[in-house]
């Protein structure tokens, strides 16, 4: 698709220029193609959408809501985790509530404070652990637990091409290749009854494309950044990747596409790693006797 000499808004990595109308078409087709290619959504689903109120998750919810209007058998419910980050999360919750109310989408909010006894800001004063590590463990735990309680058939997340490329590189740089086996448009290595299947419909959409789509559709209400993000290893990998993409256009696409070619082999290679046992305390999936979330909850109590 190489369109409109009039008012181009974006130049794609193949040097194609698209106007607003054709960009929307291009972006939505890309998401639908990803859903079909990787068999992410079936004909009948009770889909959970993990949202934060940021541009990625609202873009995802906006597009999947369009899809569910065309197929009444796809039911959507949004789920939001309130970690308890002052100056950041309250704003995004406000945006998420406004969006869901306007679009008549049911929104369930769960907080660290209610579920684990204190907000993230306070946890970080008690525990000597990196913010993103702790936050990630609790967030994944809650999302999975609540998805099961809400009988979701799948949980869609707003992970985009940039997120995935960062994870691939981070795992490579830290010799964590077994973690890469869990990546891909369908997360995890194999189906497990204790885990709700997580899917990433924006897998092949770059962060710039998602932001452009969100801007056009007025989904960019909130531009605040998590105060802990700059401390992360991911943020440094992100910057390296963006520098590379600017010099060598198409780098991110190449990373994801070459990764997708080896992913089936990685999933076979590490399939035994995915034998899940269950936490003796909470009965949620765990690699050892006690899951990481319960271990941290214990530390918070002591």
């Amino acid at each position: 698709m190489n369109c409109c000499k009039n008012f181009p808004i974006i130049v794609l990595s193949g040097n194609e220029k698209l106007c607003k109308k054709h960009f929307i078409e291009y972006f939505e087709n890309k998401v639908l193609k990803t859903i079909r290619q990787f068999d992410l959504i079936g004909k009948k689903e009770n889909l959970g959408i993990a949202i934060s109120g940021g541009k990625d998750s609202l873009t995802l919810l906006y597009i999947l809501n369009k899809l569910s209007k065309q197929n009444q058998k796809i039911k959507l419910t949004a789920i939001l985790i309130d970690e308890g980050i002052k100056g950041y999360r309250p704003n995004t919750i406000k945006t998420a509530k406004k969006f869901c109310s306007k679009n008549k989408i049911k929104l369930n909010i769960y907080s660290y404070e209610k579920e684990f006894g204190m907000p993230l800001d306070k946890m970080l004063k008690v525990l000597d652990v990196k913010p993103c590590t702790l936050c990630g463990i609790f967030r994944r735990y809650l999302l999975n637990k609540k998805s099961k309680e809400l009988n979701f058939t799948k949980l869609a997340t707003g992970h985009n091409l940039d997120d995935e490329c960062q994870s691939i590189l981070m795992n490579q740089f830290k010799n964590n290749i077994r973690l890469s086996a869990r990546l891909g448009p369908k997360a995890g290595i194999k189906e497990n009854k204790g885990m709700v299947q997580r899917i990433k419909p924006l897998y092949l959409c770059s962060e710039k494309e998602v932001t452009t789509y969100a801007f056009i559709n007025k989904l960019l209400d909130n531009l605040t950044e998590c105060p802990y993000v700059s401390e992360s290893y991911r943020a440094q990998v992100r910057d390296i990747l963006n520098d590379f993409e600017a010099k060598f256009t198409g780098t991110k696409n190449s990373i994801a596409n070459s990764f997708l070619q080896i992913l089936p082999d990685l999933k076979i290679r590490f399939k035994d790693d995915d034998e899940v046992s269950y936490c003796k305390k909470c009965k949620e999936p765990a690699a050892k006797d006690i899951c990481n979330a319960c271990k941290f909850v214990e530390k918070l109590k002591s």
């Binding site: 940039d162 932001t211 801007f215 531009l223 950044e225 600017a246």
Partner: protein, 68 residues
């Protein structure tokens, strides 16, 4: 020419001086901003990097970086 730029990530407005006939790409280079990390809007419309700018244009830079 002088361009008024609002960069949302810094939440402040700046005036940037550029040579006549400069483009968005030149503006970002002058501000040392990687074009991959922003979208650029003029009068609420997104404009591509090769678009030429005019004196006293009002430009908004929107960061594409995820909130976390």
């Amino acid at each position: 020419m002088k361009i008024n730029v609002f960069y949302d990530r810094e939440n402040k407005e700046k005036t940037i001086e550029l040579a006549n006939n400069s483009s968005v790409k030149d503006l970002l280079a002058k501000m040392k901003i990687n074009p991959v990390t922003v979208i650029v809007s003029k009068h609420d419309n997104i404009i591509p990097e090769d678009e030429k700018l005019k004196d006293k244009d009002n430009i908004r830079l929107i960061s594409v970086i995820s909130g976390g």
